[in-house]
Every structure is written in structure tokens, then in C-alpha cells.
């Protein structure tokens, strides 16, 4: 299968400096047994992709809290395809758009942009961990040590 490992690239995209959720996710995902490559805040699309290629990551987790997420995330899937990692999991979460918009429409917009999972603000790390385990098919995997706890 394509997902050989449980390495995740985590970061906050664009000119966004919101660091708190990033630090919490880093802690919670690491505690759950994932190998977290945290590229921190103000990360470009290229930085996400380069980190994913270098570490042979199974997923890219994009955070955006400041409202420019729609502008910043556009074209990320295409760039992944160009870089030869077109099948990588793409998650996005946070305050992804400017203003209070119906989350279902935001989710649909981001899924059209090629994201596999889209999360509203205030999502607990447990939810993301559960989805990652499901999407990475950890239950069937026998070449990883498996998540803790």
C-alpha cells in the first residue's frame, strides 16, 4: 500500500502566525504515536511539499486561523501532483475563510480543492487522530508499531 509510515507534516500556512493550535496538535499527535514533522507557522505550500517529500510523509495537515486560508490553500493538490506525491492525504482545519460562513459550504469548497478532510475551528485533537488512523488504515498495517494509547 502507498502509506508506508505514519509521518505527518504539520504547519500553519501563508502569512498566518497562530501558533497555539499548532503546538497542541504537535503534542497530541506525537503522544498518539505519529511522527510529527512540524514546520511551524508562516509556511508556504512549497515548504509543506518539500517536507513531505523529504520525510516520505503520509499526510499533510494544514492549519489556517486568520481567514486567508482560501487564498493560501488554492493549488496545493496540483502542486502535490506535480511533485509526484499526488496521493498524499491533505487535511485542513481552523478558521479557513473570512467571515462566518456555513461550514458545509466551506468543507465542500476545500474538498473541491483536493482536501480529504476539513475541520471547523475548535476541533479537538482526538477527532483528527481518529480520522488519521482510519485514513491511514493502521488497523491493517503490520509494518508500524502502531499508535500508543
Amino acid at each position: 500500500m502507498a502509506r508506508k509510515n505514519n509521518t505527518l507534516v504539520l504547519g500553519v500556512i501563508g502569512a498566518d502566525v497562530h501558533a497555539i493550535g499548532n503546538k497542541i496538535l504537535d503534542h497530541a499527535l506525537t503522544a498518539a504515536g505519529f511522527k510529527v514533522v512540524n514546520i511551524g507557522v508562516m509556511a508556504t505550500q512549497e515548504e509543506f511539499i518539500n517536507a513531505a517529500i523529504e520525510t516520505d510523509a503520509a499526510a499533510i495537515l494544514v492549519g489556517s486561523l486568520y481567514g486567508h486560508g482560501e487564498l493560501d490553500c488554492r493549488g496545493l493538490r496540483d502542486k502535490c501532483i506535480e511533485a509526484g506525491i499526488g496521493d498524499i492525504l491533505l487535511y485542513a482545519g481552523g478558521n479557513l475563510v473570512v467571515g462566518k460562513q456555513d461550514f458545509a459550504s466551506v468543507e465542500a469548497r476545500f474538498k473541491t480543492m483536493g482536501f480529504n478532510r476539513v475541520y471547523p475551528p475548535g476541533t479537538l485533537p482526538e477527532v483528527v487522530i481518529r480520522d488519521l488512523r482510519q485514513d491511514l488504515g493502521e488497523g491493517e498495517s503490520n509494518d508500524s508499531e502502531g499508535p500508543l494509547g
Binding site: 502569512a15 498566518d16 507557522v41 473570512v98 475548535g122
Partner: protein
């Protein structure tokens, strides 16, 4: 260029100005002498420092929203609505995040895409791209003082354009707009850039124009212990005063425990005046600003109004000069104008109802005030020692050594070793002191407060407690009890 806390030489300042104004085409629209004349014809009711002085005399707590959108006419409509419908005493112009990182080309794209989409695609007003004349249209469209609010480590051009554009208050500082807002910018650089901003404000002051300066109090906005934000605010006040700034509003972000928050506001101006006087900067107007809870909010709008109103109660009882208001859309990002006005109205209702009541100086309040004084002085005095008498040098070295350490900051120039957590009454204490220069008495106080909560919750204090606290208000509580 070596950083020292010394008023910039005027010749050097003029030379640097030429470079700053040439960094984007709209910089050519700045004529300083003409701008000074423009400010002089503004009525007192539009000048932040004058209205704050009046409020301070009369014991008024003013309310101010945050607001900014990509398109000029929409921005003006938004501000008018917040003034007329929301009753805002002061108005903001919140600057978008591309401009904050000096990415004016991306801001230009954001303006174009906003025009095409018919809605704002930027999270603020890109003032540099618009230039001086557009800023004046904003100032002229409303009846109250307008402040620039942003998060820009290098705000030299933004300051030139917005101050020439008639704004009478400029938020930020070399520490408070770097450590929480940047990843790589060295403190030596941002402090130096902000010396320029303060020198510019000082130049206006020398020419009879009052511009208020407001260091950004809440920093990362999440569980920041008062002594950390007080130390940063006072250092920025000292640095600004050296450059000739005469009017300062110092800020603090609500933590959530009433006694701690009131103690923080009451000690902030007192400590600032103590240090300003001690270092030769007397005669400055010092006012205070309280930010309603800056961390995660409940999604439910009624619950959000609960958080907003609790902030309003604290602001009123603390007798703060200004409160920055949150909105019921906070959990979802940037609010509609209606939601923004709703936050203002809820706040003003509470402020008006409490304006004749006060919180007595109880032993609990006194203890909180005394602890904040001791901790703040410990940090400031060690900073000055590290700087061998120079506050700018000291600030850089203090961050390197972790003598000042801001929790959850994105900057790699912040040590990031301290951990805050709430005690059993919800006051923010230190779970891990990192390298803070605290004595045994201060440490024992915090350790006992945290231990008390651990006993109550039957768990060892750990990072999980901190995570629970960060989510707590969003989930309807102040203290993050075990789930």
C-alpha cells in the same frame, strides 16, 4: 547597525526615511510637513490622546471594536456602522496579514480578488496599498478617533502612510509585534524598526501633534501571566518615551479570574509610571486598555456573549480607560458588522450599569497586586542588568536567556520554556518557570496554587492540564477540569 536605547539622530532618521518611503510607490504620497498641518486642523474629538485624557479625568471606560476589510468603501461603511449602530467610542482600522508581513504584492492581489468576488478576501484593510488619501477618506468619514491595529514587525512604511493619513493612534511595538507575530525576525531588527516608528511619532509631538502609541498587551492572547505582559509593555513604553513619544496606552489581555485581572490593570499604569519616572521620562500620559478574552471562544453566540460580558464586567470594575471588544462570531473568525456591533452593545450595556460601582480593595486583591508587582520588577530589573543599563540591549538578551518568555509564541527568538496553567480559582499561574528570574517566595506561591488544583482534580499537573485550560472557555468553562 548596533542597537542602543537612544533617540535616533535626526539626520540619520531623514536618510532612513528616504529608503522607507521608496519601498512601495504609495510612500511617495507622504509629505510630513503637510501631514502635520492636516493633523492640526482635526477637531479634538478625533484625536485619540485628547479623548483619552478627557475619559481619564472623568473616569470613563471607552469601548473600541476591531475591524478592517479589503475594500475602501466597504471599510468606511463598516466603521460608520460600528460608530452609529454599535456606539463605538473609538474606531480601529485593522490591517490585513499580508501587509503585516510587508507583502504588498499579495495584498494587491487580495484587493483585486475581493473586487471580483464581491466580498473581502483579506482579513483587514491594506492601508499601504491604498496610500495617504484613502486613509484620510476613512478618518474624514467618521466622528471619533481612529487607531491603526495590526501586528507588523517592520511597520515603518505603514506608520508613515497611516499617520500622514490622519490616524491618531498606532498600536504595536518592537517586542509585542514581533514575538507573537513573527517566526524569524530577530528582536534587534524589530526593536530598531519600532524606534523609527516612535521617532516619527516623537517628531509629530515636537511639532504640536499628539499621536497615541499602544504597545500590544495580550501578546499571544492565551494564558499569558500578567507579569510577562506587564514587563513587555513597560519596556516598550520606556523605548517609546526615549524616542519622544508622549502618550501611551498600555494593554493587558483578560485571563478570566476577576481578582487577578483587576489587579493586573491597577498595577499596570502604576508600575509603568514608576519606571518611566525612574528613568527620566516624566510627564507622559499613561492610560490603560483591557482586551476581552483573546483565546478560544465558544461557537454558540449566546455563550460568546457570556464571555464578552464577563470581560466588560472586569473592565468596568478595573476602571480601565479603554476596552477592546470581542464579538459573538469570534470562534468562527472575522465577524459580520452586525455581530461586531452586537459585541459593542453588550459591552456598553455592562459598562454603563457598573460605572458607579467599584471593587473594594480586599486582601485577595491586594495579594494579587503584590505578586504582580514583585514578578514584574524581578523581570524588569534582571532585563536592565543583562542590558548593562540599556533597555533595548537588555530586552534582546532577556529573550535569549528566557528572562522574558512568552507562552505559545511562534517566534524562534522566544525561549518557549515557561508553561502557564490555571489554579483552582482560574487565575493564571506558572506550571513551569523556565528561566524566569523569580525568587523562592514567588516560586512557592505559584507551586502551591497549582498543587492545590492538582489535589482538587486528583491528577498531577502536566501539559494535559494546559491543553484542557486552552480549550476550556470554548467548551463553556474557565478552568479546564479533567474530561
Amino acid at each position: 547597525m548596533e542597537l542602543v536605547n537612544k533617540k535616533l539622530d535626526l539626520e540619520q532618521f531623514w536618510a532612513e526615511r528616504q529608503e522607507v518611503l521608496q519601498s512601495w510607490p504609495t510612500g511617495r504620497g507622504v509629505d510630513l510637513e503637510e501631514a502635520i498641518a492636516y493633523h492640526k486642523q482635526l477637531p479634538a474629538s478625533k484625536v485619540m490622546a485628547k479623548k483619552l485624557a478627557q475619559g481619564k479625568r472623568e473616569g470613563i471606560t471607552f469601548a473600541q471594536p476591531r475591524a478592517g476589510v479589503a475594500l475602501l468603501h466597504e471599510h468606511i461603511e463598516l466603521l460608520r456602522y460600528l460608530q452609529d449602530e454599535g456606539g463605538a467610542d473609538f474606531l480601529p482600522t485593522t490591517i490585513d496579514s499580508y501587509t503585516r508581513q510587508n507583502r504588498y504584492k499579495e495584498a494587491e492581489t487580495g484587493i483585486e480578488e475581493s473586487r471580483a468576488a464581491g466580498r473581502s478576501m483579506l482579513n483587514g484593510f491594506p492601508a499601504v496599498n491604498y496610500g495617504v488619501d484613502a486613509c484620510r477618506k476613512v478618518v474624514e468619514a467618521v466622528n471619533v478617533p481612529v487607531q491603526v491595529r495590526h501586528g507588523t514587525p517592520d511597520a515603518r512604511l505603514l506608520a508613515e502612510i497611516t499617520l500622514a493619513g490622519g490616524f491618531t493612534d498606532f498600536e504595536g511595538g518592537g517586542i509585542s509585534y514581533n514575538i507573537p507575530y513573527s517566526k524569524d525576525m530577530p528582536l534587534e531588527k524589530s526593536i530598531r524598526y519600532w524606534q523609527y516608528v516612535d521617532r516619527l511619532v516623537g517628531y509629530y509631538e515636537e511639532n504640536g501633534v499628539s499621536i497615541n502609541r499602544e504597545p500590544f498587551g495580550p501578546l499571544t492572547g492565551t494564558l499569558v501571566p500578567p507579569s510577562i505582559s506587564h514587563a513587555v509593555a513597560i519596556i516598550e513604553a520606556l523605548l517609546a518615551a526615549e524616542q519622544g513619544v508622549m502618550n501611551l496606552t498600555l494593554g493587558y489581555g483578560q485571563c478570566g479570574n476577576l481578582y487577578q485581572d483587576v489587579a493586573a490593570i491597577r498595577t499596570l499604569a502604576e508600575l509603568a509610571e514608576e519606571y518611566l519616572n525612574r528613568f527620566g521620562y516624566s510627564g507622559r500620559q499613561i492610560t490603560t486598555v483591557f482586551h476581552q478574552w483573546m483565546g478560544g471562544f465558544p461557537q454558540d453566540e449566546s455563550k460568546a456573549f457570556g464571555v464578552i460580558s464577563w470581560g466588560a464586567v472586569t473592565a468596568a470594575l478595573a476602571r480601565v480607560n479603554k476596552v477592546i471588544v470581542k464579538t459573538p462570531h469570534e470562534a468562527m473568525g472575522i465577524p459580520t458588522r452586525e455581530a461586531n456591533a452586537a459585541g459593542l452593545k453588550a459591552t456598553k450595556q455592562v459598562l454603563n450599569m457598573l460605572k458607579d460601582q467599584s471593587l473594594p480593595l480586599t486582601s485577595e486583591l491586594q495579594l494579587e497586586m503584590e505578586m504582580i508587582r514583585k514578578e514584574t520588577r524581578a523581570i524588569l530589573d534582571k532585563t536592565l542588568e543583562l542590558g548593562e543599563g540599556d533597555w533595548a540591549v537588555g530586552a534582546v538578551r532577556a529573550f535569549k536567556a528566557g528572562v522574558i518568555d512568552v507562552p505559545f509564541a511562534p517566534s524562534r527568538h522566544n525561549l518557549g520554556k515557561i508553561l502557564p496553567a490555571r489554579d483552582n480559582q482560574g487565575a493564571v499561574r506558572f506550571l513551569d518557570f523556565g528561566q524566569l528570574p523569580f525568587d523562592a517566595e514567588i516560586r512557592a506561591f505559584h507551586q502551591e496554587k497549582i498543587a492545590e488544583r492538582g489535589r482538587k482534580e486528583n491528577r498531577q499537573p502536566s501539559f494535559q492540564m494546559v491543553i484542557d485550560d486552552i480549550y476550556a472557555i470554548g467548551k463553556g468553562m474557565l478552568v479546564g477540569r479533567p474530561r
